[in-house]
Point group: C2
Chain length 322, copies 2
């Protein structure tokens, strides 16, 4: 089923139902966003005026760091404050699944019976811009549907995942005890996006060393001076859970900090700018691809490959005079 | 002086003179190519039918490896075969200079009195696509002007430099004795583009270890099997010069090898394809930038930053409906 075949009025009905708190219509709308196309854009436009009041927490780290367990424990914290929660699990390595992947069911276990917890995986790829375009639109839809806290969890630390999660309001980087982890965090660019470090599985050997490694890196980074936030380092054992309340407190503290000093507003402005840039690029890519498929350009391309035609002239045939 | 202010008939006159072997007109044409714009495109079109008969050797490696001295010694080898030579020194780290940078004068010393040696630096940046677009056009102009051997020398091993030099017909990667160099070559992506390795300053300690490191990496790469070329490792002391004749022989051997097995033809087809792709991207970037400057889009952009307008709607205002 192509999203383009979905009637605009059907989308509107789903949207109204999702805003009234219904879960299945919300799930269907997120599937459309995941697929991209005209329905996704319609949903984006509908959701936009209702979005912006929520808060997004990104949770990233190497595979096996315990991010899912930590996210699940964090959902319990949000719920203990009496608020609804949504989890968006980002997995660019999985093929498109329409949303219902095994991971969801595993993640659901702790919160399966709680109607105020909405958990969803996004594994889109192949369509334009992929997850980097779909994720912010999905977050807005979740906000519009009355989820004041959206947790963006990544499966790994690939480029797309870091990009997406780094665009959250507060970003939590999860590492495990072990000498290499702090270094890895630095290498993968996680150091730059971390607002809070969590050493999960902190009951294992080496937790203290990992903490001092991270502190040392933070000292070198100069963060915490001149009124800037210094990422705290929280130790957790997610499956107990232990330390997750401290992590939740750190998230709320960071939220207050960046709300008060204006960083939150600036982050969101920068993010809107980046999103627009990304959308524009994706659409231009699509336009170029379309022009490339014309018989004229296919012929010109063959002439270039045969080195009978100057590539500059071929570009002119594709795009018109400069 | 903008290149656009140069009359098309002036370019034609310069081109005719350059084809007749005059050096100053050739230098002026290369300055126009460096600057980009309409004159550069005109030169590209004029040169294209006359180009393609030359052979390009890329010489790259870390700063201080002795590439300039090696290139100068290689020019002497080309000259001893009775052929004219051209050197294009690529330096993306320098600001645009119009071509006459200090490095040229230093490089010229050994060949300053030889009219059959043409040496030129390209340090353009700032204009669209920069050196990656200008370099292949400059090579074609040099070929058209009767230079059967063009040596592309880079100053460092930045991404642009590796990209440009990797598009040569034969690529020489220069390292120095010392344990880290072979590893560095691998990290910087040089391993992938090397057709010949040169250990320059091979009279220094550690030359044998560097050679066995490189041999080991080549063993792991599987090159040399199934009729594929295995990059030879040549030891040189460029300032003597010692070993440069062996390097020159290796270059000619590689040329024969890839000519005979069809790789040269395929490389050039791939390169034409990449160049077209790069030109198309650069021109589209320019078109988007132009549209971005319209008052309508500036206004829409401000609305997005104020989060009063959906970024998807703004993209539509910029680019039209999808």
């Amino acid at each position: 089923m192509s999203s383009r075949s979905t009637d605009a009025s059907v989308i509107e009905e789903l949207f109204t139902a999702a805003l009234a708190g219904e879960r299945r219509p919300l799930a269907r709308l997120l599937s459309h966003i995941e697929r991209g196309g005209a329905a996704a854009q319609q949903i984006g436009k509908l959701a936009f005026p209702h979005a912006g009041s929520g808060y997004t927490v990104g949770i990233t780290g190497a595979p096996g760091a315990g991010k899912s367990t930590l996210t699940s424990a964090l959902v319990s914290q949000v719920r203990s404050d009496g608020l609804p929660a949504a989890v968006l699990a980002i997995d660019p390595s999985s093929p498109y699944t329409g949303g219902a992947i095994l991971g969801d069911r595993v993640r659901m276990q702790d919160h399966a019976l709680d109607p105020e917890v909405f958990i969803r995986s996004m594994a889109t790829r192949g369509h334009l811009g992929g997850l980097a375009l779909a994720a912010p639109a999905a977050v807005r839809m979740l906000e519009a549907a009355g989820r004041p806290w959206v947790l963006l969890e990544t499966v790994g630390v690939g480029q797309v995942e870091v990009e997406i999660v780094g665009a959250a309001d507060t970003t939590v980087v999860v590492v495990n005890p072990g000498w290499g982890d702090a270094v890895q965090a630095n290498k993968a660019g996680l150091m730059e996006i971390a607002d809070i470090f969590v050493i999960n599985k902190s009951d294992r050997a080496g937790a203290e060393n990992t903490k001092s490694d991270l502190e040392h890196m933070l000292d070198l980074s100069g963060l915490g001076h001149d009124g800037r936030w210094r990422p705290p380092i929280v130790s957790t054992v997610a499956h107990v859970p232990s330390g997750v309340d401290t992590m939740w407190a750190a998230i709320k503290e960071h939220r207050t900090f960046i709300t008060d000093n204006g960083d939150l507003e600036q982050r969101r402005i920068d993010r809107a700018d980046e999103e627009l840039e990304r959308i524009v690029r994706a659409r231009i890519d699509a336009q170029v691809r379309a022009r490339r498929d014309t018989p004229e350009f296919v012929a010109a391309h063959a002439e270039v490959l045969a080195r009978r035609l100057d590539p500059w002239e071929a570009a002119e045939q594709l795009l018109g005079p400069d």
